[in-house]
């Protein structure tokens, strides 16, 4: 059912319910709507082209308010890597195998980073410097962005 849900058809009230706890507001809504159609949207400035994340209402480089949530390629390099032996409860997350959480430097711009888990690889293979690409899983009927190692089997 959730795969039929178009991000644009979801009302503001529904968005708030689907992303309870994410801090849904006028600045973050476009990014979160993008997730519903499995698109990773990051704010880019229409005036100077600078990307920034998390979403803010104004470009930090040129102060233009013409910022738009736009798709990124989803490729990048692991910059930070932690493995959670405990953490907030979430469906399908079992900390008995430490849960990998990485911050990825996206290819669009130096210093532009997005944090998510890694699926499809053993923890010992997940390390700073590894190349990754974006994928999606479902959690609570909502798509969640994840990364896969680029050269994973």
């Amino acid at each position: 059912m959730s795969s039929d849900r178009s991000g644009t058809d979801v009302s503001d009230e529904q968005l708030l319910t689907l992303f309870a706890g994410y801090g849904v507001d006028h600045d973050t809504a476009a990014h979160l709507r993008g997730r519903l159609t499995r698109q990773l949207l990051v704010n880019q400035c229409a005036s100077c082209g600078h990307w920034h994340h998390p979403p803010r209402p104004v470009c930090p480089e040129c102060w233009s308010f013409e910022v738009t949530a736009r798709p990124v390629a989803g490729t990048g390099t692991i910059h930070l890597a932690v493995f959670l032996h405990q953490g907030p409860p979430a469906p399908g997350v079992d900390y008995s195998t430490p849960y990998p959480l990485v911050t990825v430097e996206l290819d669009e711009q130096p210093g532009l980073r997005f944090s998510a888990t890694v699926v499809g690889s053993a923890n010992e293979d997940i390390a700073i410097g590894r190349r990754v690409r974006l994928d999606w899983i479902e959690r609570d009927d909502v798509p969640v962005p994840v990364f896969r190692l680029e050269d994973a089997a």
Partner: protein
């Protein structure tokens, strides 16, 4: 930008500091009760009554709550800053220096909160409590808050190839120091073997890399230097204060370990202060996570980047099983956040005051004249103060 302007220097004093002491267990008390005990204690030690206070500063309970609770008749200034505690000190010092008020009662109640210990969740009367904004994003894919420090600890190990023992020196030093502090929550000795064998919480940081959730409170009297000289204990003069921050202050967007709030704090303090580490008698780097302490030691200039662990090893005093820089300067002699208790910096400031007043008991550094407190972490909470005996 950073300027050397510092008109507040030596005009404001910390006239007293007091604590309830800390326990790593749920007390059957409210946060307000703990704050009240510390506030009353510091007022009595300074020979002051409720009518002598005209400013109040603390996070939780709020300043209005504390004023009503203690029957402080009138104030002309109050504030409820976010943690860590140098935020409170900065606000209070500014208020006194500018004349918005003359004598501030500043307090911080550390409280075991339901989201940092499972046992605290079992006390229903704690569920609405806090010492700051509640974590917004309780899902496992967020690097906000505590996870962010762990993430940058992974980067530290990656960049410098340091062994985990380097984090362990911070933990063992704190625990040894806490043994001499009756106010500390954890006073049983900790060995490096204990550290390396401890349960991993978020790799690469383990149980002993994280501050300990406690119940307890500290309170301070901050007033003019003139007024403080008429009070019973030696005044501690505020030399310089800085709250350093950069624009890339989201945990995962910080450019690197070489460019966050700590570097700004240090540069600002050095620009404003009369002294720095070469003239300091006791040093208080924050230790909410051990990675923070290693970074402060490097950023303060005690050693180069990636060298803090080797520095601690080199200055380790085997006889006392703790760090004594150049054989004389202790680091967090009260036991810090890891062993006295997670006080969000109030414990560090309180011990600095007591050291400079000569009131630190068996922990007293002989003839301590100058102290540096560098509180908080990396992103939006790096801050520091330089203090000297009046």
């Amino acid at each position: 930008m950073i300027t050397s302007r510092n008109p507040l220097r030596d005009r404001v004093a910390i006239a007293g500091a007091a604590t309830t002491g800390f326990v790593a267990a749920n007390t059957a008390r409210s946060q307000a009760s703990l704050a009240a005990e510390a506030c009353i204690k510091v007022l009595r030690e300074c020979g002051l009554g409720a009518e002598d206070v005209d400013g109040i500063c603390g996070s939780a309970p709020s300043a209005p709550h504390v004023q009503a609770m203690l029957g402080i008749p009138e104030v002309t200034w109050f504030a409820n800053p976010a943690i860590p505690f140098v935020n409170h000190l900065a606000a209070a010092v500014s208020a006194v220096a500018s004349g918005l008020c003359e004598t501030v009662l500043a307090y911080h109640a550390a409280y075991r909160l339901p989201w940092n210990t499972g046992s605290a969740w079992k006390d229903p009367f704690r569920r609405d409590s806090g010492v700051g904004p509640k974590p917004l994003n309780r899902q496992p894919d967020s690097v906000a808050g505590s996870v962010g420090y762990t993430a940058w600890a992974s980067r530290y190990l990656h960049e410098f190839g340091t062994p985990r023992e380097h984090f362990g020196y911070v933990a063992v030093n704190d625990r040894t120091n806490a043994a001499a502090n009756p106010a500390a929550a954890l006073r049983t000795p900790l060995t490096m073997e204990d550290y390396l064998g401890a349960r991993m919480v978020r790799w690469p940081l383990c149980l002993y890399d994280m501050d300990i959730a406690v119940d307890g409170a500290d309170a301070f009297i901050i007033t003019t230097a003139e007024r403080a000289r008429d009070l019973p204990n030696p005044p501690v003069l505020v030399d310089a204060v800085a709250l350093g921050m950069t624009d890339k202050n989201d945990e995962d967007q910080a450019p690197g370990l070489e460019a966050h709030g700590q570097q700004v704090t240090v540069r600002a303090l050095k620009a404003k202060s009369d002294f720095w580490i070469e003239d300091c008698d006791v040093y208080f780097p924050y230790d909410g996570f051990t990675i923070i302490t290693l970074n402060w030691i490097e950023n303060a200039g005690w050693c180069g980047r990636g060298e803090a662990g080797d520095f601690l090893k080199q200055h380790w005093d085997a006889a006392s099983n703790r760090v004594l820089i150049d054989g004389r300067i202790p680091i967090n002699p009260h036991g810090g956040s890891l062993s006295e208790g997670g006080t969000q910096g109030s414990g560090h400031l309180r011990e600095a005051v007591h050291q400079l007043q000569g009131l630190a008991g068996e922990r007293q550094v002989a003839d301590a004249q100058r102290a540096i407190v560098t509180a908080g972490g990396f992103f939006f909470n790096a801050q520091g103060v330089t203090l000297h005996r009046g």
